[in-house]
Structures are given as structure tokens and as C-alpha cells.
């Protein structure tokens, strides 16, 4: 390994190590308030406890359920509507800028409205998650189907392809990678929206639980949950990433 590579590795290991060391010292020696920063050892203990007792399960179930339903709604409607829009250049020119403009607004703003309509239960989270994740899917679908090379369509038609055959053998394979990428973004965004809306206004779910713990000043447990949620999000993202890569290779 070259000297520079070694140096890079050293820095990448040293920086987190130093930060953790500082964290430990701050809470044990330097008297930083426990309300703010719990002892890292206590956090690890709390994490082990949480995992062992499985107390995270009900909240995890709620969050995952919300995620699944929201994404199912946004993925199917996004692809369907995106496909319909992509059928004509005119329709694309009319609708795509509109959808892109709406997506540019921080749609989390609509959470209070959904809470007004659906209450503090899972329904409002699902509604917001579906709303926000609809846009990357529909925009990617429009782009995917809309940018299929005209030459390929012409060639297929010249060889006598029916509408269905054109869709199945030309449009879908061509658009697939782009749509898949849009779905990946949609999934990630749905997860973030749901955790976010659970944090802001909910009675259950992982986001809500973290808020509850912070309000009760149960810091080690709160930190443990944060680590847990970050890990879950990372795992889900990795899975989605792999699925996308696998889907692309088919």
C-alpha cells in the first residue's frame, strides 16, 4: 500500500476514534450536561437492552407498515400516471414542469393539513409519504418513457410490432433503468418523510418514540434509538440500491 493510501486510512480511522474519545471524556471528565450528551457506555448498554428486549418492535412495525403502504401507492400511481403523460410530447411539456415545480416546494409543509384530515395516526404519515415520494417516481417514469430513442420505436413498428409488443419489448426495457432509479429515490424520500412526520406529529412509530424519549430526558435510550433508526435506514437503502443494480442487470 502506498504511503498516501496508508495516510488516508489512518485519518479515516483516527478521526472517528478521536471523536468518540472526546465524547467519552466530555461526559465523564469535563462535566458536559448528561441532559445533552449521555455517556457513550450508557448508550451502548441501552442499545443492547433495546435490541434484547425487542421493545422497538411495535414502533418498527408501524413505521415499516406506513412505509410499505405509502411506497406502494406512490410507486404504482407514479408509474401509471407517468406512463400516460409520456405518451405524447405535448402532454409532457404541459405536465412535467408543473410536477417538477410542485416537487421543488418542501412538501412537508402539508403535514399539518394531513393531520387535520387524517388525525395523528398512521393515515396522515402514509398520505404524506405517498404524496412526497410520488414525484420522483412520476418524473423518472416520464423521463424514462419519454426519452426512448425514436429510432427504436420506428424500427419496431416497421417490423410490425403491436402496441403491446412495443411496450413490452421496446419501451419498458429502455425505460426500466431510469424508472428504477426514480423508485429508489422515491423509496428513500418516503422513508425520510415518514420518519420526519412521525417526529413532528404522531402517536406511534420510530420517529415518535425518539421524540418521546427526548421529552422524558431518557438520553442514553434516545441515542440508542437514533443509532438504531440510522442503521435501519442504511440497511433499507442498501437493499434498495442492490435491488436497483440487480434490476438493471436483468
Amino acid at each position: 500500500m502506498s504511503a498516501r493510501r496508508l495516510g488516508v486510512r489512518i485519518v479515516q480511522v483516527a478521526v472517528p476514534a478521536v471523536l468518540i474519545a472526546l465524547w467519552y471524556l466530555a461526559t465523564t471528565r469535563w462535566g458536559v450536561s448528561r441532559i445533552l450528551l449521555p455517556n457513550p457506555v450508557a448508550v451502548v448498554e441501552a442499545l443492547k437492552n433495546v435490541l434484547a428486549t425487542g421493545e422497538f418492535l411495535p414502533d418498527l412495525r408501524v413505521t415499516l407498515l406506513e412505509l410499505a403502504v405509502a411506497f406502494a401507492i406512490s410507486a404504482t400511481s407514479g408509474v401509471a400516471i407517468g406512463f400516460l403523460i409520456s405518451r405524447s410530447g405535448y402532454r409532457i411539456r404541459v405536465y412535467e414542469p408543473l410536477l417538477a415545480a410542485i416537487y421543488a416546494v418542501p412538501l412537508i409543509l402539508f403535514l399539518p393539513l394531513y393531520v387535520l384530515w387524517f388525525g395523528l395516526g398512521p393515515a396522515s404519515k402514509i398520505a404524506l409519504g405517498a404524496t412526497i415520494s410520488f414525484f420522483p417516481v412520476v418524473l423518472a417514469t416520464i423521463a424514462g418513457f419519454g426519452n426512448v430513442d425514436r429510432v427504436m420505436v420506428t424500427a419496431a413498428r416497421a417490423m410490425g410490432a403491436s402496441n403491446f409488443q412495443l411496450f413490452r419489448f421496446v419501451l419498458l426495457p429502455a425505460a426500466f433503468p431510469v424508472i428504477l432509479a426514480g423508485m429508489r429515490v422515491g423509496f428513500t424520500v418516503a422513508l425520510l418523510s415518514i420518519i420526519g412526520s412521525e417526529t413532528l406529529a404522531s402517536l406511534a412509530g420510530l420517529g415518535h418514540h425518539i421524540v418521546e424519549l427526548s421529552e422524558n430526558m431518557e438520553m442514553p435510550r434516545m441515542f440508542a434509538y437514533v443509532a438504531f433508526v440510522v442503521a435501519i435506514a442504511a440497511v433499507l437503502n442498501l437493499v434498495v440500491f442492490r435491488l436497483e443494480a440487480w434490476g438493471r442487470r436483468r
Binding site: 409543509l109 399539518p112 387535520l116
Partner: protein
């Protein structure tokens, strides 16, 4: 593009159709809300517009909006300053980039919303929390685009400058920096989106003061007129800020293909 050309494009059939779609949606909303809508849950757009006065008349709302705007501006300025500085360092120094980029990407990928309660505990319910949360959301796209802008420079441009005798500072000022500017403005547009998200999330979370207080109040009082008015105003603010950033980005990226 000529003035005439831009105007013609603005009024193209597709644009008119789009305005038509928006108008149709507004009509459906108006009619639907009047005919079927429970006034506890929904209000027609006409009533929302007329109710804007009462939204702004509600004591504390203009103040909250003003503070939110202040938070947005400060958070954006900080995100740009930090993002540009960090981005330049990482872009120019290969060792720093190799060491720290993975860490930056890791933190960027983390769902920051989970630690919002922690931020509130640390910084309180005032503007500081909102500004900090805005900065942590907005700084990453700026860092990444600045790094890309510095990295993407065609090597021949730097070789050419070196052959003509340019010192490192001259190379930076006359080659690297101008090359990076379009990416920087793209980063700032994305950074603005991030700052908006961070600040608004923090505002909505704190239900005892600021915007969050009023959204909670209007929701609990089943007051869709004022709730929609408030949300609409914030959305409009976001749209305007985004449009400004897009305009700046387009202007400064002129020389790019």
C-alpha cells in the same frame, strides 16, 4: 434569446395548457369544497385568499413569518460560506478529499430528522435551532458540487496555464475558480432546497413558538382557512426562493454547454 422569443415561449400552447390545468384544478377545489367540503376540514381557495388577511392579522403570525425568513437567510449564508470553504479544500487537496469524502457522504446519507429533538434540547426553541438545522441540511449539496466543479476541470486548461507561467494562485483565480462557478450555483440552488427543508422541519417541530405554534393551533381549532393560508404563504416563499436560485444558476452557467 430575444425579448420576443422569450415572450413567445412563455405563451406557447403547452404553457397555456398548463395554466389551464392549474385553473381547472382550482375550479375543482373551489366547487368541491363548497359543495361537499366540511368547513372544519377544507376551505375553497376563494375563502382561503380572502382569509389571508385574518391569517396575517392573527397576533404573532407576521412576526413568526419574519423570523422564519430571517432564519432562512442566515442559514443559507452560513451554508454557502461553510460549503464553499470545505468544498474548495476538499476539491484542491487530494489527500483531504480521499480521507474525508467518505465521511462527508456518510453523514449526508444519514436521516438528520432523527436528531432534531436533540438539536432542540441543545439549542432551545428559538431561531438558533432552526438556523443550525437548516445549515446541516444545506451545506452538503454545496460541498459536493463545489468539489465536483473543481475536480471536473479539463486537465489541458491547467496544463496550458502552467505552460504560460501561471503561479498556483493565478491558476486558482483565473482557471479553477471561474470553472467552478456554474457548479457552485447549482450547489447553491440545491443548498437552498436543503435549507428550506431544515428550517421548516425545525419550525414545524417546535409547537410552542413560531410557525409550528400556529400550524398546531389552526389544526387543533379545525381552522382550514387559516391553516391553508399559512401553509400557502410558506409554500409561496419557498417557490420564490427556488425561482431566484434557478435564475442565478442559469445566468452563471451561460458559458457551459
Amino acid at each position: 434569446m430575444t425579448e420576443r422569443g422569450a415572450l413567445r415561449r412563455a405563451l406557447s400552447p403547452a404553457t397555456l395548457a398548463r395554466l389551464g390545468v392549474i385553473a381547472a384544478l382550482l375550479v375543482i377545489w373551489e366547487v368541491g369544497a363548497r359543495a361537499f367540503g366540511d368547513p372544519l376540514f377544507i376551505a375553497p381557495p376563494s375563502r382561503v385568499l380572502m382569509g389571508l388577511g385574518s391569517v396575517f392579522g392573527t397576533r404573532g403570525v407576521p412576526g413568526a413569518l419574519g423570523i422564519t425568513l430571517f432564519e432562512l437567510v442566515v442559514a443559507f449564508a452560513l451554508a454557502v460560506a461553510i460549503g464553499l470553504a470545505v468544498g474548495l479544500v476538499l476539491g484542491l487537496n487530494g489527500f483531504a478529499r480521499a480521507s474525508f469524502m467518505p465521511m462527508v457522504l456518510l453523514v449526508y446519507g444519514m436521516p438528520q430528522i432523527t436528531i432534531l429533538p436533540l438539536f432542540v434540547l441543545a439549542f432551545g426553541i428559538g431561531p438558533t435551532t432552526k438556523i443550525v438545522f437548516g445549515v446541516t441540511h444545506g451545506v452538503f449539496p454545496i460541498v459536493l458540487t463545489v468539489v465536483a466543479g473543481v475536480q471536473n476541470i479539463k486537465p489541458i486548461l491547467l496544463t496550458s496555464a502552467r505552460a504560460m507561467g501561471a503561479s498556483f494562485w493565478q491558476q486558482f483565480r483565473h482557471v479553477i475558480f471561474p470553472h467552478m462557478i456554474p457548479s457552485f450555483f447549482t450547489g447553491m440552488r440545491l443548498g437552498m432546497t436543503g435549507v428550506l427543508l431544515g428550517v421548516l422541519l425545525a419550525e414545524l417541530y417546535v409547537s410552542t413558538a413560531g410557525i409550528g405554534f400556529f400550524t398546531t393551533q389552526f389544526t387543533q381549532n379545525f381552522d382550514p382557512v387559516r391553516l391553508l393560508g399559512l401553509i400557502g404563504t410558506l409554500a409561496a416563499m419557498a417557490v420564490v426562493l427556488n425561482a431566484v436560485m434557478r435564475g442565478l444558476e442559469a445566468h452563471y452557467a451561460r458559458w457551459r454547454d
